[in-house]
Symmetry: C2
Subunit: 434 residues, 2 copies
């Protein structure tokens, strides 16, 4: 006898089997009844020919509220009426958990439900195979990212999420009472991964939460997300960082296409793997593109959501989904980005995917004096960053890196429309539970 | 010509090479001088025969402050005086960053330095190969953990670190101002991984930060650590969870022994891989052991640091480093642990490693009414946990899981003596920077 948590592993040769899962549906048609049992891997049909089943068992099984959790033991029989080619004729049931009624949210009912309702009852929403598939793909994505960076000599690190200062000054930080001191939640591991470049651990990556206290209620913003950060020493220029990102994204897209077949099919989605190298636009080219489209931006302005969309549309016309935007004005970039001396530009880039920025990066300023000068130019007080600056006074190699919001990457890959679709339990200004 | 970030990759066949790193040491002996250059992978000798080197270059190289960051280009020559079997006769140098003097901390000097001084200048401390080796082993440990759980069907998840309630009530929580609401930093993903068990995603794991606002200043406590959590559905009992942990720990120890050879050698450490299954002691046996040793504990008491040490010593006498302690009194365990009906015990366990708890786990209470009763018994208000309890009302399978502090595991594995040794930038009541 087999006892499984994976109904798709059952075979007629098993004779008798025990299957465990959620009662998705019960249909009683007089002389015969059917129970659809769902587990993580799919559904299996339990068939109850009234005459052959113990009446008490028949009664119990057909009266079970939908979504109750049970183990059903029975004989496995071949059937050409079911997707698995088999059905189970039950001889015993164990009820682990009887579901209350009515359900707060249907699993199989084809009813449009508001995002808020879904997120309020996320445990039920996640029972839908097409919702679960998103998170199976997210887990695969993390695995693929890690595979690729580890193969390229990056060491995984964990930097503190409780900090004395923000990465870019005071904006958008959540404040914590840290015993008798104020502290802040990390908005990025930026300063720490740079400090690590001065240790000799010359390629590092981190996958961890990042926090932004932004009062934005959009499809693209949440207050907590997973940031995939990388930093590498001994670079000649920012293009080496861009090439590394390309290598990683390519590995992720190629890998998901292959390993995520089942999930992509459930979602009805296809992933396009673009040829490398990805096109590189400069900020100046992009600015012109956006101005030509009628957006009144001027030199030095951030391209913004609107601008990114316009560029995305133009690139889509050429069949391009992934592209870099490089050479941003230094004033539009944080203090740690290196200026391109003698120009108003910087050694920075964004990676955009279908009209949205999913990654930012660049070469960092590793020279102490220039770094301090940039901080002062941005109105920051170097004394607040002493814990960071010290690492630049005693031997810092040239370095660069990136940050990628993994949920944004997933959203664009699957055209999900709302970042909350890619987070199990999202956090935004209005949402703190579940 | 070769340009490398890994000095150990240079060979005499390269002819000319560029090596990049930190100037660890400069020795001038009249007619000849030596510069030791260090990178992530080791050191390489730069030899300067005074007569054969351009005087300006000789002057520049021998005057470089220790720990400056440079690229040195030169001819690779065979040498039987060096570990690599070669030396470089320099023809050019590029100085990326000249180190200030004096250094806040030596890298090669054999001077005893206080832990606090080391942590205050962690970037410099990490330049010591034996410190860096710890974090290389930590990264390998995470990789090995992930390998093993993924192979066993676990899906990686990320649960929110900003929460409306703690996992076990109000103690030890850091409070955040979350817009107009109070919120707390997660002390454990416990409630979320359990909610996920009701979704059908039946095996999940998470690696992420956990926060404890404990005012403890000990070798074992920090306020932020990395928790490795797992949860699995469809278990028969807590022993299935224990077997899974054993599988994981065994994979980690075996893997590190193999892949971490170089780092373990640098640290002068050896890892013992114990035979499976690990011995299982019951709480009652342990209590007796501890009482016999003179500790005045009574039935129901936590074994505590002292008790754990006594048991560790007894087990060490038998040559046992890893062992479970099972069947704790239910009153000593959190509300979500299942009681062993008709006894004062519970379906819980700890995994202890050389006299210290490194993991806790058990079978969870999946039955709604019993779970609420346990909450009330513990003085918690079920209304505060509605976001969690809802997931138990509509079909929750039996499940169990564990939490492992990965730094504690590393500390015991390498006999480090202080948990701060296993964290790049530790956080404790007195330490918020760097």
């Amino acid at each position: 006898m087999t006892a499984v948590r994976d109904s798709s592993n059952i075979s007629v040769d098993d004779g008798t089997a025990t299957v465990k899962g959620w009662v998705q549906d019960v249909r009683a048609l007089g002389g015969i009844a059917f129970v659809t049992l769902r587990d993580r891997f799919g559904t299996i049909q339990i068939t109850l020919p009234k005459k052959k089943i113990d009446p008490a068992l028949f009664e119990e099984l057909t009266k079970l509220p939908r979504e109750s959790v049970v183990a059903i033991t029975g004989e496995v029989k071949a059937s050409n009426q079911t997707a698995l080619g088999l059905e189970i004729i039950p001889s015993a049931v164990e009820v682990y958990s009887k579901a209350a009624t009515p359900l707060p949210l249907g699993v199989v009912d084809k009813v449009n439900v508001e995002m808020d309702t879904r997120l309020n009852h996320r445990f039920m929403d996640l029972r839908k195979p097409e919702i679960r598939a998103i998170f199976e793909l997210k887990a695969m994505m993390v695995e693929l990212i890690e595979e690729c960076v580890r193969a390229n000599g990056f060491n995984q690190v964990y930097t503190p999420k409780i900090n004395a200062a923000g990465a870019e000054g005071g904006a958008e930080l959540f404040k914590i009472q840290y015993f008798d001191k104020p502290a802040f939640l990390a908005q990025s591991p930026q300063l720490y991964k740079q400090i690590l470049m001065s240790t000799g651990l010359d390629r590092v990556f981190e996958l961890g939460p990042a926090f932004r206290a932004e009062l934005s209620n959009t499809n693209r913003h949440v207050t907590e997300f997973i940031s995939f950060d990388g930093e590498m020493s001994w670079i000649e220029n920012e293009e080496e960082v861009m090439a590394m990102i390309e290598t990683i994204i390519d590995h992720v897209l190629t890998g998901l296409k292959e390993r995520g077949k089942k999930q992509l099919e459930i979602l009805g989605k296809e992933i396009k793997v673009p040829a490398r190298p990805y096109p590189i636009l400069t900020y100046s080219e992009c600015l012109k593109m956006v101005q030509d489209a009628g957006l009144p931006l001027k030199e030095g302005d951030d391209l913004g959501t609107e601008g990114e969309k316009i560029i995305g549309d133009k690139m889509a016309e050429k069949g391009v989904e992934l592209y870099f935007i490089a050479e941003y004005p230094e004033e539009a970039k944080p203090f740690y980005i290196m200026e391109k001396d003698g120009t108003p530009y910087s050694f920075s880039f964004d990676l955009d995917y279908k009209g949205q920025e999913i990654s930012s990066g660049g070469q960092r300023e590793h020279r102490y004096d220039k770094l301090v000068a940039r901080m002062e130019k941005k109105g920051l007080n170097p004394a607040d960053f002493e814990f960071y600056l010290e690492a630049f006074r005693y031997g810092m190699p040239p370095h660069g890196g990136w940050g990628i919001g993994i949920e944004r990457l997933l959203v664009k890959m699957l055209d999900l429309g709302n970042i909350r679709e890619a987070i199990l339990f999202p956090r935004d200004p209005a949402r703190l539970t579940p």
